[in-house]
Subunit: 519 residues, 2 copies
């Protein structure tokens, strides 16, 4: 223990995950002589340290599973060990994982997946015929008729065809070409792959990537990893987080001083962008020579009666050939959100429009290094795009389950918005889509000072206190970006209604107390 | 069509994957005037082109699914369209995908996976109790008791515990710590992640990564993507592809002239390295401050009676504390190989030894950006490390299936080695492990000249001819690396025995004819 104490004094400290190791060779002088081995071999600095590691990786942050979530995990362990707290459970409202919060999977989807996994079940009377038909179609397209074979790197052919057919139907007949469809390991994988291909140049020619603030922190993380330049454009909080092309213009103009802005990322929804706005964005992207990334994973999560989902592809196709044949666009979808909530399967696809054929070849080449996305996730995606149809045996149950999930989410969206807006010092925009509230919190100056004294962002200080006093884990707005001097947090709307009400009440109580404490 | 012809003359050509698009704005001059739109908007160079893309990605090659495999796909389409060829099917002997070649999945594994996928089946009398027990254990450890939730980024806790227990048993009691286990999306994902963290520096300080020649082209591809420096060390063909530490020494010495060699990758098996060799490698890595990557995905595929699998971890643990507490090692395993062949599930893990705790924190942070590996793949990995035990209901069938697969592979390994060695101009080392033959082919000088006239590597020329004349798709040795002036190809031993015999006979016939043609 003496050596331990000495090392602690030198600043070596336990890591977040487990027992620490000796980390400084300066400790060598204290080492007792060890026979047969030169002393400097006994204690030597690691090859891989914070100093020697990839600096681009070091700069990466991902707030959705960042420090506050690690803290939530520690608190859970304390609860398990019987340590008394003002609450009995940690509520993880940090991450868009519906099934973790009790949402049930869609029965038909899991039936088809089970049939694909263990084809003996094709002889079982317990499975409906339409599920068996889907499973056979998938299996016949797999090597060795098995989910266990690698697929083509672009994904199983018939699944890409099904995705293209889905997009065509969704967009009212605007044709999608299966050749432009790439199945991916969740949408994150597709987004990362496209960004990887796009980023080039150095110095002032380094690729700039425009991302919305608030963003989804995959974007900033990948930009960091790739050493690209993050260019923020601010969504308009006063206007339901709408996108304003003037703000895009401002961002690009300033960015050109120090980088080569080449990519424009839109999350649609987040806020379901209006059709006019999407048209303006496409025009702007064309003018400014920006490659468009449309993250549309929440396309099934639109709650507000005033809003609809408009796909970038569809709007682009209706702008006339000079745009529809030229604007380069990649759109992304996933099995993780919507009414499916199949996060763990890592299913996703991207549709690419107007990519140079040689680039498509490069894309497949890059994807081939990782062989293929998980075939089980591809199968899940197939059912998402090819669900039971009217007249089919499983249709009624499917529609019932789907509508139940979506109406439940819509109810919770409204509940959350209303309750937050009743709290003095909290202001919450209508939740028109996706799965999160991003309320603004007005923090008293004394709270901001206290945060700074703790060397924490004020909203992190707030969220940590919320976690420690109520067990509710949300993510501070600083993890997503926000206008200077404003504070927010992101909370999911996913817990079951009754639990959500409790959560919202506790947040309210906490907030009022917080205001009092730092008045 | 006039415009098309003009563009073709300019050098725009069909891409490998689909219809080409207009690719040069110089075509603008020929454009008929289009109302309402300025001409330069009608045809404009793409934002994303071979010139503007990420040069590191452009440099990436992955031979296992490279040009010859694309050609094989084209030929398959031609066969489907009824075009007559000297053969009726393409045999894809390029990739280590056992189930695609007819190998059956392990029944118990798929039963557990089906139970996890569709838990209603837990009430079915058609599933054995031991499978249900495994499934319940996995589901209880998942959020919402569902494979559809994200897991912790490091992987489901109890699966990591099971992996640690497996490693401990495998290594005769040398303890593995679950905290050092990271579940990954296939081994490729773990290898990529570790390399990503390791690579740093610039110019002559750029990280050098030692890889064996012949290699598995994931390594060269990732090194290329990361802009690291590939440092080749040659395995000894005259000595069954053994690793020679003198050759490592040579490689490191020369590498230091132009980079900072920091990482040593070993594929074990490939050739199952002897225990003495592994000790020497570890000593060498310690001396030269090299981070060890041990790719052990074929640890269940050792056929030769003279060889055994020795894990790097076990050997390291027996070298005494100055090594076992200090040498930094990452070992990798996968569900894709062995007797399981579950490639499509993308299951894998890595065990890290002696990593700085702060680095482990960085690792989790980096993994968190992609949220988690596919939970279905994690479940598959769990069954691999936690199979039926003696006395359990499913044990007999499991052992029967496992031994059937492995003895079948061993039979095919011997068959392949023997048959290739009967062919004049082919010399094949004993296949001691893994799933591939890498025979040396002695090409007549006229064949080498013909290849050069076609602007192809001689072994690519040979393999293309083989594919076109027999339908057999193998990968030229140049895709894996080989000593200058030698030629090889890599062929899997995975087709069923009778088909494999036919394949080998056809390769023999082709080779003899080839020698005659270019005598």
């Amino acid at each position: 223990m003496q050596r331990a104490a000495a090392l602690v004094r030198r600043g070596c400290c336990p890591g977040p995950l487990g027992p620490w190791r000796r980390c400084r060779s300066s400790a060598a002088a204290e080492a007792p002589a060890v026979l047969q081995v030169r002393p400097e071999r006994s204690r030597r600095e690691r090859i891989l340290t914070l100093e020697s590691m990839n600096p681009q990786v070091k700069a990466v942050e991902y707030a959705v599973r960042g420090p506050i979530v690690l803290k939530a995990g520690e608190i859970e362990l304390e609860l398990q060990r019987g340590i008394k707290k003002p609450f009995t459970e940690v509520i993880r409202a940090n991450i868009g994982d519906a099934q973790a919060m009790g949402q049930q999977p869609i029965t038909f989807l899991r039936q088809v997946m089970a049939l694909c996994t263990y084809p003996n079940l094709l002889d079982s009377p317990s499975f409906p015929e339409d599920a068996k038909k889907r499973a056979r179609r998938i299996l016949q397209a797999c090597g060795g008729n098995s989910l266990g074979s690698y697929s083509a790197s672009q994904g199983v052919n018939c699944i890409r065809e099904d995705v293209a057919a889905y997009i065509t139907r969704r967009d009212g007949g605007v044709p999608a070409d299966p050749d432009n469809i790439y199945l991916t390991t969740g949408a994150s994988d597709g987004i990362t792959t496209i960004l990887k291909i796009l980023v080039s140049g150095g110095g002032k020619s380094r690729t700039g990537v425009l991302i919305p603030i608030p963003q989804y922190p995959l974007y900033s993380a990948v930009i960091s990893e790739l050493g690209a330049v993050q260019v923020n454009y601010y969504l308009d909080e006063e206007n339901c987080w709408a996108l304003d092309v003037q703000e895009l213009r401002r961002a690009v103009r300033e960015a050109k001083e120090h980088c080569d802005p080449k990519v424009l990322c839109i999350i649609n929804p987040g806020t379901p962008q209006s059709r006019k706005c999407i048209e303006d964005v496409i025009h702007f992207a064309w003018e400014e020579k920006l490659f468009l990334l449309a993250d549309e994973v929440y396309q099934d999560n639109v709650y507000s009666a005033d809003c609809r989902f408009h796909s970038f592809k569809k709007v682009l196709s209706e702008l006339g050939p000079e745009y529809s044949s030229n604007v380069e666009l990649a759109s992304f979808h996933s099995t993780s959100k919507g009414y499916m909530g199949e996060c763990g399967y890592r299913g996703g696809y991207m549709e690419v429009i107007n990519l140079h054929p040689e680039i498509k070849g490069q894309l497949v080449k890059l994807l081939s290094v990782r062989l293929c996305p998980p075939v089980s996730g591809q199968a899940a995606m197939d059912i998402v795009v090819n669900p039971p149809r009217p007249g089919e045996e499983s249709f009624e149950q499917f529609i019932r389950e789907k509508e139940s999930v979506l109406s439940n989410l819509a109810e919770k969206a409204k509940l959350t918005e209303d309750l937050f807006n009743q709290v003095p010092g909290i202001r919450c925009n209508p939740l028109q889509g996706a799965m999160y509230a991003f309320p603004r919190i007005f923090l008293p100056p004394r709270a901001v000072e206290a945060a700074q004294a703790h060397n924490m962002a004020p909203d992190m200080f707030y969220c940590m206190k919320l976690l420690e006093e109520t067990g509710i884990c949300v993510v501070p707005g600083s993890g997503f970006g926000q206008r200077e001097g404003t504070y927010h947090f992101r909370m999911t709307i996913l817990p079951p209604v009754e639990k959500l009400k409790t959560v919202l009440q506790r947040v309210k109580d906490f907030h009022i107390q917080f205001l009092g404490e730092f008045a």
